[in-house]
């Protein structure tokens, strides 16, 4: 199938290096200590963060740093067919782990020994790139909760179809079966905290695709910073100082 047309348009009208429309908002769940919603095109994710708080299960307590837990779930209505999704299937367990590890890499856990941070991510609508969207939402929520972090982790995916590197695959492109490289990046430190791909790709092409994903991460980081800044300004205004 043709995913990139002759003069380089993708099926949804984007060019290969363009991302989908991004919309991010802080404060989606009032109960939580920090929360955010993140949209990339039709992919819509909310994240809520609780903590740092006392460790619930004392057996899991770590003496010198905070315990980070993450739970990823997908709403039943998130895809076209309303299938019941059992909790804790392999895919969501894997995603929970990936998100937890990525977030742990930027949270300054040593500052909060013997405490626990819970991150809940839920996909409201899935259209490809949920992994990246979840990480971005979690970052925003963590920032909203005021949890100390060394940098903002942002994530973006890139794929390779019809011999063209493509940024931010949507569901249609994702199901083409080509490689899908997800990168998590600490943009200021320029460090990669997550790199996933489940296909084969020659090394030189892989480098191009990964570079494209990194560019995407940087663009998202700029956007997230702006959102946080505006949110802070708003809070400042509300406090009236």
């Amino acid at each position: 199938m043709e995913y990139v047309k002759l003069s380089g348009f993708r099926l949804d009208g984007r060019r290969p290096t363009e991302m989908r429309h991004i919309h991010a908002e802080v404060g989606a769940v009032a109960n939580a200590d920090g929360s955010a919603s993140f949209e990339m095109g039709n992919t819509k994710v909310i994240a809520a963060v609780y903590g740092p708080k006392e460790v619930e299960n004392k057996g899991q307590q770590i003496g010198n740093k905070a315990l980070v837990r993450c739970e990823y779930s997908m709403a039943n209505f998130s895809t076209g067919d309303r299938a019941r999704r059992p909790k804790g299937d392999r895919r969501s367990t894997e995603l929970s782990l990936v998100i937890r590890q990525t977030m742990e890499a930027c949270i300054l856990t040593h500052l909060m020994p013997r405490s626990q941070i819970d991150i809940y991510v839920q996909v409201l609508q899935a259209d490809g790139g949920t992994r990246s969207a979840c990480i971005n939402a979690a970052t925003l929520a963590l920032a909203d909760a005021g949890i100390p972090m060394c940098d903002l982790v942002t994530s973006c995916a890139a794929g390779y179809l019809n011999s063209t590197p493509l940024l931010d695959l949507n569901y249609l492109e994702d199901s083409a079966g080509g490689p899908d490289v997800t990168v998590g990046l600490l943009s200021k430190l320029d460090k990669v905290t997550l790199l996933q791909m489940d296909a084969k790709l020659p090394l030189d092409i892989f480098e191009n695709v990964m570079q494209l994903a990194i560019e995407g991460c940087k663009a998202i980081a700029n956007l997230i910073r702006q959102v946080l800044l505006e949110n802070t300004k708003k809070l400042e205004y509300l406090r009236g100082t």
Binding site: S7, D12, G13
Partner: protein, 933 residues
């Protein structure tokens, strides 16, 4: 840049699922007109100010692609919505359209109206998607009109009346294809226009004066829904229709559901299907399986004559024997004969354009008017095609290309339209061109992009090549090449040195083409498309550009060249003790011809080192050959002919069987050994993605014709294995010396063709090469003229760690499609060479009627087929004149025809004297005819 987004809903197969997709509309899509002041004109390609900008609709592209390909049609805007519709309806037209849009010579521009913020059209409630697309086309045309604001005319071309009416209502200018082409004032162009269905009615009315024409000749095709239903229930069978190359009234459908081939006899059972169409077939009742066949031979088979042609090289080229003819009469009605059926629907058409000429006819009274003519394709599998032309006088004696448009059940012949003229019939250049076109061979000069990939000339060995640690300097070794005389693309050379331990070091050096042809470059893509060089009698169509073929890669004498070498240590008993593969630098000391090499070996006075090397190699080769034959390799004979061509007129001067010398066999032996060694090496390193070559064992019914002949003369052939066959062929010695060769030639044509394949696609048992009796085989030794060898070179280089494996190998599907293409090209190249030899044979005999000896190879009711050993051709000899009743009786069991009431009889393999002469029954259509003397 992202403007806005909207949502589209779709339902997918089976369940209705709501799919929401984003659709970005943008403002950075430009009109593509060069003089536009508003838009970015970087990629603009549409015309100058006074030209008319054409917007075409989908049906115009689908039906009039031949017209659009004519350079007279330019400044065409192809809308995205049209592209998509074309893609969904006809992929081959889509590919041609894509080629048009990317060609730098043409002014075709794709306007992405679906992504443009002003031209995107949302489907309205109650509007069909067809109507929506038509509206989208009109909106885009409107946009163009407003955008260009009168600086040039925008014209919508559509044959849809409704669409045209609406367009004119909306203030656009719209025209039909015909009226537009007429306004251009080029009468030749009008022939390219496919008559639209609305005007077809007129054609019918004209024909109504001959009432017999009006009745349905073919049965109606079943509707698609019924076909799918029938296929599911197993009443109908689906498969690709293949028409017998030698009898266009007989076709086969390979059906998976039945596990056997279904035979289809006669045009009415074929029901308008073309060769290569995917059809649905219904089986005929079993009692008709035989009658139908008899009927077809008597009724329709007669008006088709068999021409003289070359001896088929393998079973794939030969006409398939109709098996039931051998069945004795008492089992006639049993189920042993093959199922026959009739086509009830066509699932996918394989209509292409065909080469041929018009049936001779008298000029119609009114000159310059529209005339109907029948077109006869050179490919006999294709039925005659009815075309409409305004330039009949011009076309009558020309080779032309015609495309098929439709075939309804009321007309005996399909209707088509003229595409272009190749040249005069009988003109050698034209006929060569026809051969190339028929076999889909690209003989165009290489493009600039391809030539840009060549290293600068003159090429010399660079110090970097010598410094390369992967490259061994073998310039001091006495390397030489042996090739046919006049060979300019030398891709293999050899050396042979005696070692102190009594063994020999033998090296095969192959031109290092991959050093110059890098993967994914335009050069590589072009070569992979061409697949192989094509050798016509007096012309060679190269796979790689000339500088590479004849200079940089050619291992000529006394120049330093890069090579890829396989070096063995071989004991005097011809056992290989070690094998080494390396890239190398060589300097050939002599480029010998087979004749020269043979003369050197035979001349006992010559004792120079080169001759000694040759003799050593020859003695090794003989042992290796013997061993190979003991393993069961077949020594098959072919009747390859060689022409001597006049250098001035390019007409053949002499013709004769190509002589095979010991020197040929010596070179062949080492090339085989190198190929096998390389095959082992690459398969070891890349078990899933190696390109190998296999030769499937012939099936029982492929050998059937051979067995029938040998049985009739009391010879028993054992075909249980290649070894058994080889042995019994050795024992088949008749009273005359040519007998054995004849049997071998007959055996050869029963074999299948060897094919390339990707090792991941088959299980290791299937890798076997039957003819060579080798478990593994590949092609490594001719990278200049075969692309398969280029791939194998890359694999070997990767296996040695010299270079990376190109990405194509990682994708098995891609590799499979590459190997399929190679098989296709290879086969076409062979067919083209054969056709070229046939053509030259006719030219040769045109001036030289000859008497010669021939052998009967097949018995027919009205004559027999003879094989002429001296010229390697085969053709029919008629005992009965056409139309007369035959008084000859065929005896199938003994393969013999006897004249009723007299003792005169002919049997198979018998030698007869024949007269060969070129006759012209019809003007401009010379034919070689064989008659008995």
């Amino acid at each position: 840049m992202l403007q806005s987004k909207s949502f589209m809903k779709m339902t997918r197969h089976g369940r209705a699922v709501k799919v929401v997709r984003e659709h970005y509309l943008r403002d950075d899509i430009y009109c593509g007109v060069q003089y536009c002041k508003v838009c970015d004109t970087k990629d603009a390609r549409l015309g100058s100010s006074e030209s008319t900008i054409l917007v075409v609709d989908t049906n115009v592209i689908l039906h009039q692609i031949d017209l659009l390909e004519n350079p007279a049609m330019d400044d065409v805007v192809v809308l995205d919505v049209v592209m998509e519709e074309v893609k969904n309806k006809n992929l081959s037209v889509y590919n041609r359209l894509k080629a048009l849009c990317t060609s730098s010579q043409r002014k075709f521009f794709i306007f992405y109206n679906e992504y443009h913020k002003d031209t995107y059209v949302k489907q309205m409630v109650g509007e069909t998607s067809n109507d929506r697309n038509d509206r989208a086309i009109r909106v885009a045309t409107q946009w163009y009109q407003n955008h260009l604001a009168g600086s040039s005319r925008v014209l919508l071309i559509t044959n849809d009346r409704e669409n045209k009416r609406k367009a004119i209502e909306e203030g656009l200018s719209a025209e039909t294809v015909e009226s537009y082409v007429k306004s251009l004032g080029q009468p030749g162009l009008l022939d390219l226009v496919v008559v639209s269905s609305s005007e077809d009615v007129n054609v019918m009315e004209v024909e109504e004066t001959r009432p017999s024409k009006r009745k349905a000749i073919y049965s109606e095709h079943k509707p698609m829904s019924e076909i799918t239903h029938g296929l599911h229930r197993g009443i109908y069978h689906q498969g690709k229709l293949r028409v017998n190359r030698y009898n266009p009234f007989e076709a086969y459908v390979g059906s998976e559901s039945i596990g056997d081939e279904i035979i289809i006899y006669g045009r009415s059972n074929m029901n308008r299907a073309f060769d290569g169409d995917i059809v649905a077939v219904e089986l005929l009742p079993q009692d008709q399986w035989h009658d139908v066949k008899k009927l077809s031979i008597e009724d329709e088979g007669k008006d088709e004559e068999e021409g003289v042609h070359l001896v088929p090289g393998s079973a794939d080229d030969a006409p398939r024997g109709t098996v039931p003819s051998a069945v004795p009469s008492e089992t006639m009605n049993s189920t042993s004969c093959r199922p026959s059926g009739k086509v009830i629907g066509i699932i996918k058409r394989n209509w292409q354009s065909y080469c041929g000429s018009l049936e001779p006819m008298s000029m119609p009274a009114g000159d310059g008017g529209v005339a109907y003519a029948l077109f006869i394709s050179k490919d006999r599998r294709i039925p005659k095609i009815r075309i409409q032309t305004r330039q009949l006088g011009n076309l009558l004696n020309k080779r032309i290309i015609v495309a098929v448009d439709s075939w309804d059940c009321l007309s005996r012949y399909p209707s088509g339209h003229y595409v272009r003229t190749i040249g005069n019939i009988g003109d050698k250049k034209t006929e060569d061109e026809v051969i190339l076109i028929e076999n889909d061979i690209n003989s165009r000069p290489f493009s600039m992009q391809v030539l840009a990939c060549l290293p600068p000339l003159p090429w010399n060995l660079s110090p970097e090549d010598l410094m390369n640690p992967n490259r061994v300097d073998l310039r001091h070794v006495r390397v030489f090449s042996v090739d046919p005389p006049g060979c300019t693309d030398i891709d293999d050379a050899l050396h042979c040195t005696s070692l102190s331990n009594g063994n020999f070091e033998v090296g095969v050096h192959i031109a290092d083409v991959t050093n110059f042809v890098h993967p994914e470059t335009p050069l590589d893509k072009e070569a992979s498309q061409r697949g192989t060089s094509v050798y016509l009698v007096d012309r060679r169509i190269d796979m790689l550009p000339k500088p590479l073929t004849e200079d940089i890669c050619s291992l000529r004498s006394d120049v330093e060249r890069l090579a890829f070498s396989v070096i063995w240590e071989i004991t005097p008993q011809a056992e290989i003790t070690s094998t080494r593969y390396t890239k190398s630098v060589i300097k050939s000391c002599a480029a010998l011809s087979y004749v020269e090499a043979q003369a050197r070996m035979d001349d006992s006075r010559l004792m120079d080192p080169l001759t000694t090397d040759l003799r050593n190699l020859n003695s090794l080769a003989k042992i290796m050959r013997q061993r190979r034959i003991e393993r069961g390799a077949l020594t098959l004979a072919s009747a390859e002919v060689k022409f001597q061509i006049d250098t001035e007129t390019h007409d053949p001067l002499d013709i004769g069987i190509y002589q095979i010398r010991e020197a040929n066999q010596m070179i062949e032996e080492f090339m085989l050994a190198a190929n096998i060694s390389v095959a082992e090496k690459i398969l070891k390193h890349f078990p899933l993605c190696s390109l190998l070559r296999r030769h499937p064992s012939p099936t029982k019914d492929m050998l059937e014709p051979l067995l029938r002949i040998t049985a009739s003369i009391g010879l028993d052939l054992d075909v249980s294995s290649s070894k058994a066959l080889a042995d019994s062929l050795d024992h088949a010695v008749g009273e005359d010396p040519y007998f054995n060769k004849l049997i071998r030639i007959l055996a050869t044509r029963c074999m299948t063709q060897a094919v390339y394949f990707c090792s991941g696609d088959l299980s290791p048992q299937e890798f076997h090469h039957y003819g060579l009796a080798a478990p593994l085989y590949t092609h490594f030794t001719s990278p200049i003229r075969r692309y398969a060898d280029v791939i194998v070179h890359r694999l070997l280089a990767a296996a040695l760690g010299i270079s990376k494996l190109p990405p194509v190998f990682l994708d098995r599907n891609q590799l499979t499609s590459v190997s399929d293409n190679l098989n296709y090209r290879h086969r076409n190249a062979q067919m083209a060479s054969r056709a070229s030899v046939e053509l030259n044979t006719v030219i040769y005999f045109r001036k030289r009627p000859t008497d010669t000896e021939a052998r009967i190879v097949k018995i027919r009711a009205n004559g027999f087929i003879v094989f002429v050993p001296k010229f390697g051709i085969e053709g029919p000899v008629y005992l009965v004149k056409r139309g007369e009743k035959s008084d000859w009786l065929v005896d199938e069991a003994n393969q013999r025809v006897t004249k009723a009431g007299s003792g005169v009889n002919y049997r198979v393999l018998q030698a007869v004297k024949i007269h060969m002469e070129v006759v012209e029954h019809q003007p401009n259509r010379p034919k070689l005819e064989l008659t008995l003397i």
